[in-house]
């Protein structure tokens, strides 16, 4: 992400907009500037802000006059008056920042936008978490903190060391050079992203152990984590296993994503495959 210094008028509207706090008004140039190391290429500034196409010289003059007169104009807080943000084509390894941080960029390994996967959202069609199993989405960096890949690697290595396997159709697994050790690609380790999700699955008996690992590793890495924990309901739509277990372990879990079970396979090619399997 770049801010065109010829266009920027230093109004500062964009400064609080950045989720990573990477934008500041440089006192020497009086223009907004981006700290490239802190920027995760999420596009919140470029896409999220509304824009005007005002003449920068005219805006600067008006601002100077208003400042002299101690006149305070109250503009809309989400508008860049001169459309100064410019998105540039990125190359690896920096491109990885955009892939994991910009929600409208599709991840090629999963075909899904953002850093996640279908999780249990399609569990009724694509069974990933079966009866007696527990799925985990371990999210790093969100809300509002960000994370570097070497910090994620600390977690994936520890999970792998404990014999836990990773969901194959997940962007982080796709970046592993060795899924049995949890090692990630060397060239991306220092890159910072808004967030990433590691997905794993275990038997119900390992819930306490996994949550303890997440907690212990999080103590050693300078970010936040948020765990989503899922299971399949019984034939009556009840969860009589994970819900009471979380209660017993003292985890507050008031919010959930609930798959209502309305999905089914409708693609013709898949129906043929299913018929073949049945034959």
């Amino acid at each position: 992400m770049k801010i065109n210094q010829q266009k920027c008028v230093g109004c500062g509207n964009c400064v609080p907009v950045c989720p990573m706090g990477a934008i500041y008004v440089d006192q020497s140039t009086t223009r907004a500037t981006i700290n490239d190391d802190a920027c995760v290429e999420c596009g919140a500034c470029f896409r999220g802000m509304s824009t005007e196409n005002l003449n920068p010289t005219m805006v600067r003059t008006v601002r100077k006059v208003a400042k002299f007169l101690r006149f305070r104009f109250e503009p809309e807080p989400d508008v860049c008056p001169t459309s100064a943000f410019e998105m540039h084509d990125l190359e690896m390894p920096r491109l990885i920042r955009q892939i994991f941080s910009d929600p409208v960029v599709e991840h090629k390994s999963t075909g899904i936008k953002g850093r996640g996967t279908e999780e249990v959202k399609t569990n009724d069609v694509n069974p990933r978490v079966g009866a007696g199993e527990v799925g985990y989405t371990i999210e790093f960096g969100r809300p509002g903190v960000g994370v570097r890949f070497f910090e994620i690697q600390n977690m994936t290595r520890e999970l792998a060391r404990n014999g836990i396997t990773f969901e194959k159709k997940n962007p982080i697994t796709h970046l592993m050079t060795n899924t049995s050790t949890g090692d990630l690609r060397e060239d991306i380790l220092q890159e910072k992203i808004l967030s990433a999700i590691v997905e794993i699955k275990t038997e119900i008996t390992r819930v306490e152990e996994v949550l303890r690992i997440v907690h212990d590793v999080n103590d050693k890495i300078d970010t936040v984590t948020a765990v989503g924990i899922s299971t399949r309901c019984d034939e009556n739509g009840e969860d009589k296993i994970l819900d009471p277990l979380l209660e017993e372990l003292g985890f507050v879990h008031v919010r959930a994503k609930t798959n209502m079970g309305l999905g089914r396979v409708t693609n013709q090619i898949e129906l043929k495959k299913i018929e073949e399997i049945n034959i």
């Binding site: 950045c18 509304s50 953002g114 949550l211 985890f251 798959n259």
Partner: protein, 224 residues
Amino acid sequence: MTNTLHRYGSAESFRDDYIIFAIPAKGLNDDDCIPKLKDFLRICAKHNPANIGNGNRSSLAPEKGLKPSAHWTRNKKPDWNKVIDEVGKSGTVSAVFAHENDAQACFDEVVKADFGLSVNMSTSVENAKRVAKACGVSRHSVEYALPFNDPHDHLPNSQVLELSTMCGHGMVSFNFAKKMLDMVREGRRTPEDAAATLVRFCPCGVYNPVRAKRLIEEACKEQR
């Protein structure tokens, strides 16, 4: 993708927050899913949603090339049709409801429409259970949100967190949520204006402006 799981708040604070979304499973039911996704959104639009989205566009989106008069005449009206028209490829589409009876009526109609797509509800565990029961549906799977682990004390106060985490992709920054709260406290914006400003940063369309307005009003009352 609509990462709506980790919204911050108590169960009670989700009383006006019901998100229903449809998602095709890649390679299994995504053939010819665009008309179904559009029909899903059309049903949602009939039941008084607070917002709808198609993964790329919210019903109240950023505006490019505004005229200077926009500072006095800013559009705050959601545009459902643009969201529906711009569903161009397989992906998650969603609607946010602020009232349980609207969410329930919408879900009931979605069940009857029988699209064959996976349909999820993101809200409190109990809210979803009630809606499923009322519509005669058995829940298939459930993913619970556990509280944030924040051992290094990075996170801001609960008022900012509640506003910021309504964009699951983190596009509503802590600083901007705080700025909106401060502007309302100082009488420089109405809670409704502030909520409409925040919603534009969430491109998926899952930000709930009704809940945001209520949270801002409550935060400002608390300070008095």
